[in-house]
């Protein structure tokens, strides 16, 4: 054998060796198969809504893959980088701007216009708006999530208040009255200082944008400073303990013991409270919409949407599945199985939701939702709000310092976005 002849064959062997794994990585495409990614409990429950879809669409089989919530966001981004996204999926609605910016999800406007099931006016406007980026709709709300007040009716009544507060002034007064009643070892409200949501909810009530259209932080606005001031006051005057959620071992037993009277949390806790609170406490707690600076206030629009990924093979079938999951009947059934609140008004008039006293406050709150700023960098800014909010609660910084620090951090984070805006590339 000569060297001249062996060289190319060696190269060919190496080429084969290098090529073989690539070929094995190729996607195994099955005709008529629709891949759906869904997270946690939703991923489990959605399976029971699939058979009805398959009877109506005999040519299509749906494969549901469950992702854990904690890894879902990373998984979506890495799958996009590796061109391995499914046809459609559940997407946290704060991720929509990011996925739209990288072109991972497809706009749905034409399909919505032609649809008899998905009508924008049927949805609560605040949550519908979370799916809109740059004038285009990228997702259909699947369930909605927001935070409001859970409170102890008996403690509030002992402090002299028959009705829950509606304004910040009344809220503060009732908390001071509770604190005066319960003494130094108990508190009026629980706001775990490692959770940014309550502070952000107070912030969006002001009606001023948190991020400007030019890509700068707007945390030094008079409105957000008012929210920071209110938040700091709760800790400074001992109405709220400066504790993280891991320090409150068991929030349900502490609520039952009366460690705090108010708690800002989401709809999943209705079920948890019913299940975990001692029977004697039934009827002594309920929910109320979030108070605002001068009247009923807004809260953040959270939850998940259904979106079609740009590289989906059969977008028509994917859309049919979204429509199937969006009918009022599917939504009611989904609510019954998960406790997730439906984002459409007509799913609230029937079933268990219509008569449940605990969800009444949520129904009211859903009409007053504000989306978080719709920029890909939002999660990073939330991380900064968490850090600065914790410093504010611990009294390490003043309101002015906190606002300036938030703007400084946001401006640094948004540098690339401003560059993109300058070139007309940012949505």
């Amino acid at each position: 054998m000569t060297l001249e002849r062996s060289a190319p064959s060696r190269r060919a062997t190496l080429g084969l060796l290098a090529g073989a794994p690539l070929a094995a990585c190729g996607r195994a495409e099955v005709r008529g198969e629709l891949k759906l990614w869904a997270m946690g409990r939703e991923g489990e429950v959605v399976q029971s809504l699939i058979p009805a879809f398959q009877t109506a669409n005999p040519g299509t089989t749906v494969r549901v893959q469950q992702l854990p919530w904690s890894a879902a966001h990373e998984k979506l981004l890495t799958a996009f980088a590796g061109d391995d996204l499914p046809d459609l999926g559940q997407v946290g609605n704060t991720w929509i701007p990011e996925l739209a910016a990288i072109g991972a999800i497809a706009p749905l406007d034409a399909r919505i216009r032609a649809s008899s099931v998905v009508a924008p006016t049927a949805y609560f406007p605040g949550v519908w708006a979370t799916n809109e980026v740059g004038g285009r709709q990228f997702g259909i709300p699947w369930y909605v999530d927001t935070r409001l007040l859970f409170y102890r009716k008996d403690i509030l009544a002992e402090a002299g208040y028959a009705e829950p507060p509606v304004t910040w002034g009344a809220w503060l007064a009732s908390m001071r009255a509770i604190k005066a009643k319960v003494g130094p070892s108990r508190y009026a409200i629980l706001l775990p200082i490692n959770e940014p949501e309550p502070l952000l909810a107070l912030g969006v009530q002001q009606g001023e944008p948190l991020i400007t259209a030019e890509g700068y932080g707007n945390f030094r606005s008079a409105g957000f400073k008012r929210a920071l001031g209110f938040y700091r006051e709760l800790f400074a005057s001992g109405l709220a303990p400066a504790a993280t959620s891991s320090q409150i071992a068991n929030v349900w037993s502490e609520f039952a013991r009366g460690l705090f009277a108010f708690y800002i949390t989401g709809p999943w806790n209705i079920g948890e409270f019913k299940r975990r609170l001692p029977p004697g406490l039934a009827g002594r707690w309920t929910t109320a919409p979030l108070p605002g600076p001068n009247g009923p206030g807004a809260s953040l629009a959270g939850g998940s949407s259904l979106a079609i990924f740009s590289r989906a093979r059969d977008k028509d079938a994917a859309w049919r599945l979204i429509e199937h999951l969006s009918t009022p009947e599917s939504q009611s059934r989904f609510e019954a199985l998960t406790g997730d609140l439906p984002p459409r008004r007509d799913a609230w008039t029937t079933g268990t939701l219509a008569g449940d006293p605990y969800v009444k406050a949520f129904r009211e709150q859903l009409e007053r939702l504000t989306p978080a700023p719709k920029i890909p960098e939002w999660e990073r800014i939330v991380a900064d709000v968490t850090v600065v909010g914790e410093q504010l609660a611990r009294g390490v910084v003043t309101v002015d310092e906190a606002a300036a620090e938030l703007d400084r951090r946001a401006d640094a984070t948004l540098e690339k976005r401003r560059w993109m805006i300058g070139r007309g590339r940012a949505a």
Binding site: A81, E98, A101, G103, Q247, A249, R394, W419, M420
Partner: protein, 297 residues
Amino acid sequence: MTARALGTSTAGWLFVAPAVSVIGVFFAVPVFLALALSFTDFDIYALASLKNLRFVGLGNYLLLLRTPLFWRALGNTLYFVIVGVPLSVGASLGAALLLNAKAARWKPVFRTAMFAPVVTSLVAVAVIWRYLLHAKYGLINYALSGIGVRPIDWLGDPHWAMPAIILFAVWKNFGYNMVILLAGLQTIPEDLYEAARIDGASTFQQLRHVTMPSLGPVILLVTILTMAGYFQLFAEPYVMTQGGPLQSTVSVLYFMYEQGFKFWNLGVASAVAFMLFLLMFAITMAQLLLSRRQGVA
């Protein structure tokens, strides 16, 4: 042409080619790409289109030097290394000496028990440690209350979270070094101790003048390995505290993970990786030089 005509160097290259290509594909190329990545601002926008990628030179490195959280992470990591490594090696040495003592009984049982934490899953034991460290119901605070110490909020107090992580890491890792040190102890000839005893050396003097010098190179190796491992602190804060409270347990690697996989700032994350590499390289070199000057290695 016969095989003899092949130059010896060609034949040599042929033999090492598989290994070299594996090292090239799985080590050299990724490291080079990561270095290149650290000079760009690769982020979520660049993931969308490479047109949005900017070459920033040393910008990421300069940005890191101006980022308070990076310094915080570096400080936390150094705290962990400076306190954790001596404690860890000390615990390993103590355990190895105890196991090597002539009076010790049930040696295999103790050896297995002390090595067990190394082979158990970190996530599983972290769950148990979270219970042990719990401020109200934890066993550690219960034991401390027995000697009159007020309850410590181990994972909730910014001052105590890192000591708790160190305690956990030392417990988790000391068994590994213990086995290496034990092997080193068993190679020390018995006649050295005999000679020392005849010269009237006490047990402590034997330890100081016979055991320690003979064990020098092993201790150096163990210290370097432990340090390299401890600089890469990640899993413990990831499962126990998620970097909190007040970022007191954010390590360099945890910071890198957040930048890279949570926020997709791969440019910055790569720069962090190279900064950490340079730091570890410098410290290991300094340590080697120091011990060479003292004649240990």
